[in-house]
């Protein structure tokens, strides 16, 4: 053993980090690369493997320097829904062309959120006029998104998987005989069959009973406090938000 052993260990860590840095800069999404730069990056990442036994930590990079999963490009269209932990409510987040909407509902409290989907991380803010903004902070993963929802000063974590219709987020908004009706629902198909759903409705801002959506046809008309409204899916209402 050499006197320099510990120094070499530290240096190997620094070199590995630097190699990852170079590779990340080279492989950054939308970065334009020449082949020469990519080769350098691959070399830089390999260096620590030669010097130290990092084989277990560093599988040989393939021909491209991006040897992790590809850059998490924000999907043009994605729908997530899942349970809010320790709260019993559901949360749904949908992304359409760089715009993100979210809805949290536990049957009593409901909050609509909106924001931009520009990167792997989303920050959505409550859409209403409340003085204190409720927020959703989420990180997009593969097949799921996880994060925190903050409502009325309380915070919960959530993990929401991608969902397909008829699971997802629905909203109804209409003026019927001078009364402003609004409602929101999250529908999640249970693995064993059937649907879990939560929703809330209001008339002129006052909460009213919310009807259940038909899980197999969630956009069929429903009656809110005697007024017939038609729930819309995200594609139908995202322009209005």
């Amino acid at each position: 053993m050499s006197r320099l052993g510990p120094i070499i260990t530290l240096a190997a860590g620094a070199v590995l980090a630097a190699g990852l840095g170079v590779a990340s800069i080279v492989a950054a999404p939308a970065a334009e690369q020449t082949a020469a730069t990519a080769d350098e990056a691959t070399q830089a990442t390999r260096t620590p493997e030669i010097g130290e036994e990092t084989a277990a930590a560093e599988p040989s990079p393939s021909e491209t320097p991006t040897f992790e999963d590809p850059a998490p490009v924000v999907p043009e269209k994605a729908d997530y829904a899942g349970r809010v932990q320790g709260n019993g409510g559901l949360i749904a987040i949908s992304i359409r062309d760089g715009k993100a909407v979210g809805y949290f509902c536990d049957g009593r409290t409901e909050v609509w959120f909106k924001g931009n989907a520009a990167g792997e991380r989303l920050t959505l803010k409550s859409a209403g006029k409340a003085p204190v903004k409720d927020t959703v902070k989420a990180t997009l993963g593969v097949g799921e998104t996880d994060g925190q929802v903050s409502v009325g000063g309380k915070k919960w974590t959530f993990v929401a998987g991608t969902v397909k219709k008829p699971s997802g987020l629905y909203r109804a908004s209409a003026v019927v005989r001078g009364a402003e009706i609004r409602a929101g629902w999250i529908v999640v198909r249970n693995p064993q069959g059937g649907y879990t759903q939560v929703g809330a409705a209001s008339q002129d801002g006052e909460p009213v009973d919310v009807p259940r959506l038909d899980g197999d046809d969630p956009t069929g008309p429903v009656s809110v406090n005697g007024a017939t409204v038609t729930p819309e899916d995200v594609d139908g209402f995202i322009e209005e938000m």
Partner: protein, 181 residues
């Protein structure tokens, strides 16, 4: 966190440079994590479905090697009655350290230092502390006139920080998200 205490004995003076260096590392990592704009993207280790599972498993590997570290250190100090070759301690430590590097790199480069949730705040600060105290440990190894408690105490801090990091990341992931690759 970076305060250097006046050392009561002359031998302790030899720890000044390792402690200062560790303090610098810790502060630099924290300032970097806060000052630069997180990219939301970083290159990492292949073979996992996403960045989070990669980090979760590398951290779990490092924590397991951390246990090997404690056991082999106990043997080195004659507390086990069993002799474990010195190389076990040395190489499990090196491997554990190198396993943490892609994790910390992703944390700092892609996500940055954050403190909006207690778990994340504790994890961020512990992460900076871990590399600082690890640097101190490495530099203190060859200070032969350092006090006898030096390596057990600093090594213990490294292990404690690593366990804290595992609890606030991998353990959280296993319980909140699930065990997945």
């Amino acid at each position: 966190m970076t305060a250097i205490h006046r050392q009561p004995t002359r031998a302790s003076v030899s720890l000044l440079v390792p402690l200062l260096a560790g303090g610098v590392v810790m502060v630099v990592l924290g300032v970097y994590g806060r000052a630069h704009t997180p990219t939301g993207f970083a290159v990492g280790v292949a073979g996992f479905s996403a960045a989070l599972p990669m980090k979760v498993w590398l951290t779990t590997g490092a924590a397991a090697l951390g246990v090997v570290q404690v056991v082999s250190a106990l043997s080195m100090w004659g507390r086990l009655g069993v002799t474990i070759p010195d190389g076990v301690h040395r190489w499990s430590g090196r491997l554990a350290f190198l396993l943490t590097v892609p994790v910390a790199f992703h944390c700092l480069y892609a996500l940055g230092l954050q403190y909006d949730v207690p778990r994340v705040m504790v994890h961020s600060l512990l992460g900076c502390f871990f590399y600082g105290v690890f640097t101190t440990k490495m530099l203190a190894l060859r200070k032969e006139n350092a006090p006898g408690w030096t390596l057990p105490v600093i090594g213990g801090l490294v292990f404690t920080a690593l366990v804290g990091l595992w609890l606030t990341s991998s353990f959280w992931f296993f319980t909140a998200v699930g065990v997945r690759v």
